[in-house]
């Protein structure tokens, strides 16, 4: 992507704070001031471990959630505070694909109804919506003759194709895919990854591809953002982040992924982090990664590092006081 192209989506300091349970516990800042852009036709991968805020970020972008602070600008317009009615026309353009294909499809509705529903909501006629549903089924590799079947009659991979067809029904420009392949069998994941890549090429879609599987994200994305405890700790061109990770957390994350190659596994040097990710209800002061960081110094315990480039012209930003690609 050329850096001069106007972004399709622009997120600035987006923050999502949930009240503590029953008003007693401390509020939870699930997302803490994240900023990033997505260009038209671009795929941004968003990775991180459970509880890091990646799903919450996705839900804010499609405005299933209203951010408690910060802004979300879509196609030049701030949508972060829009109400239900004002959001309705935007729903055509911003769609979502979910992790568990079966639980995100209504078991009492036929495929025709599931795929056509967004079109009916947007004012299409019944006949028009059904005709379009047939087209969409073909587009995502389903057999159109199965249009009157129910979700339970489909395998997991096919059900995810239905979820994708539904997301594409209104012709969106940006699709947020939240762990779209992680509930699928390994042999089926590649089918869905290939499908999403083909659709992106054919339809010029932009994706925010949220996943914990770093190998899948590497395959599909142009740029990648790594989240830890509600913040982006590293973001940039995929080639840079994967080949030369600069944040100690990114380095540890990449080194922890098991490679399907026994010889490479034996030869490999792993950085094993101590401990678990801390709770977002009680984040550590300073850099939130410091309690697990092999490089932490005094400053890390008191000052939160800001995202910045580490060299002129570098296609990647990192939030670390001591970034570096050396061990």
């Amino acid at each position: 992507m050329t850096p001069t192209a106007a972004p399709l989506l622009s997120v600035r300091d987006a923050t999502m704070t949930f009240p503590g349970r029953r008003g007693r516990a401390a509020p939870v800042r699930a997302v803490d001031g994240v900023s990033f852009d997505i260009a038209p036709g671009e795929t941004l991968g968003l990775v991180g471990e459970s509880g890091c805020g990646k799903s919450t970020t996705g839900r804010m972008i499609v405005r299933l959630l209203e951010p408690t602070a910060g802004s979300i600008t879509y196609d030049g317009r701030d949508i972060s505070r829009l109400g239900r009615r004002a959001l309705k026309p935007l729903r055509r353009e911003l769609q979502m694909v979910f992790q568990d294909p079966h639980s995100s499809l209504n078991p009492r509705q036929t495929v025709a109804r599931i795929i056509a529903d967004p079109l009916l909501v947007q004012g299409s006629s019944q006949a028009e919506a059904r005709r379009r549903a047939v087209e969409l089924m073909e587009l995502v590799g389903l057999i159109p003759e199965h249009i009157d079947r129910y979700p339970h009659e489909f395998s997991g991979g096919q059900a995810q194709r239905i979820g994708i067809a539904r997301a594409l029904a209104t012709g969106p420009r940006l699709v947020v895919a939240d762990e779209p392949v992680s509930a699928l069998d390994v042999s089926v994941q590649a089918q869905i990854v290939n499908l999403m890549e083909r659709l992106r090429r054919e339809l010029g879609l932009a994706y925010l591809f949220i996943a914990h599987d770093l190998s899948v994200v590497k395959r599909v994305c142009d740029r990648v953002a790594v989240m830890y405890l509600g913040r982006i700790v590293e973001i940039g061109a995929k080639e840079r982040v994967y080949a030369a990770p600069a944040h100690p957390y990114t380095r540890a994350l990449l080194s922890a992924v098991p490679l399907p190659d026994p010889a490479a596994e034996r030869a490999r040097e792993r950085i094993t982090l101590a401990g678990d990710p801390p709770s977002p209800a009680a984040p550590p002061p300073g850099c939130t990664f410091h309690p697990r960081c092999p490089r932490a110094q005094a400053v890390c315990r008191t000052e939160a590092p800001l995202l910045r480039i580490t060299a002129p012209g570098e296609a990647r930003e990192v939030a670390c006081h001591f970034p570096g690609t050396a061990a």
Binding site: E49, N194, V216, A256, P258, L259, P260, T272, D276
Partner: protein, 339 residues
């Protein structure tokens, strides 16, 4: 090493469930064995029978018909009375599961649960069992074990709960540990910790480990021997290096090809396997993989017919087993992938 008798030996294991829609053969004529200190990886997708196999070995197959032979250190387990199985379970063989929270009792402290386990099997006194629980929590890397022993499962994180499960499983010093997707619910940095912990305990105690997983990366990291299951049967079994370098079964080849890899520079489309894993309710008469198999599809009509009609029996050569009418013979063929 090869001469040593296996600790666990499974012969012709078949597990059949009675269902409203007729009998379902979840595991069919399976053979495998594990020696002390060795890790056997069992890899498969949903419906492959990998978890049913582990439940059968543990004698936890309620309602299923189990035939064949399962021997642990020479003792036959199939047909044992429940009381005798209870004495072996936990004491000689133990199991850990994907979701530790559902395997731990929410009302008892983790210390009580581990101690209880020890008392049942060794008849140890309360104080001694309690000491053993704290010792085990320390051994699996839980900080401040004496204090944490007094806490309840919900007070532990996912990774710490899996450590508690491992502490409980190993408290009675079993010879065999069956781990069924033990790290699937965990984050990747925590997964690395748990796999390291299992490897260390295995080395210290000479445990035999059966690691059941869908993740070929985990298999590559921990296993010496690998069994690939498909549709309830063994597709292929081989030492880990041979399996990854020169897979003989087209399904194994297909799985390896379809994986996106971190160490891959190539951004060409993934070579996906078409279709989905088979339903056990309607088994194919021939090879379970035939409907998805690129080699069967490219074969001459007579061969293709054979794959569809005739179930391939396992053939063994050079310490490897493959159940396929059209195996990938030469290393070169295996490397370049299926047509």
């Amino acid at each position: 090493m090869a001469d040593e008798a296996p600790l666990l030996s499974v012969r012709d294991l078949t597990v059949t469930f009675r269902t409203g829609r007729g009998p379902v053969r979840a595991v069919d004529s399976l053979d495998f064995s594990v020696r002390r200190g060795q890790t056997l990886g069992i890899v498969g997708e949903s419906g492959s029978g990998k978890s049913v196999t582990s439940m059968a070995v543990m004698g936890l197959h309620t309602g299923a018909e189990v035939t064949g032979s399962i021997t642990l250190a020479g003792q036959e387990l199939t047909g044992l009375a429940e009381g005798e199985l209870n004495r072996l379970r936990g004491r000689r063989m133990a199991m850990i599961f994907q979701d530790p929270l559902s395997s731990l009792h929410p009302y008892y402290t983790v210390g009580e649960q581990i101690a209880e386990h020890h008392r049942v099997h060794f008849g140890s006194r309360r104080a001694a069992a309690r000491r053993r629980a704290v010792e085990m929590l320390g051994e699996v890397g839980i900080p401040e074990p004496a204090r944490r022993a007094g806490e309840y499962p919900h007070q532990f994180s996912g990774g710490m709960r899996q450590r508690v499960m491992i502490a409980m499983a190993l408290a009675c010093e079993p010879d065999l540990l069956i781990a069924d997707e033990p790290t699937t619910a965990l984050d990747v940095t925590v997964q690395a910790q748990i796999l390291e912990l299992i490897a260390r305990l295995q080395q210290d105690r000479g445990l035999a480990v059966v690691m059941i997983t869908h993740d070929l990366g985990v298999i590559a990291r921990v296993a010496q021997e690998v069994l690939v299951m498909y549709g309830g049967r063994a597709a292929e079994q081989a030492p880990v290096d041979a399996l990854f370098a020169t897979p003989a079964h087209p399904y194994t080849r297909g799985l390896l090809d379809s994986l996106p890899r971190l160490d891959d520079a190539d951004d060409a489309p993934l070579r996906a396997i078409p279709g989905s894993p088979p339903s056990l309710l309607t088994p194919a008469p021939g090879c379970a993989f035939a409907p998805r198999c690129p080699r069967a599809a490219a074969a001459a009509p007579a061969e293709r017919e054979r794959c569809a009609r005739e179930r391939p029996g396992p053939t063994t050569a050079g310490g490897r087993l493959v159940a396929c009418h059209l195996p990938l013979h030469t290393p070169a063929e295996a490397r370049k992938g299926t047509p």
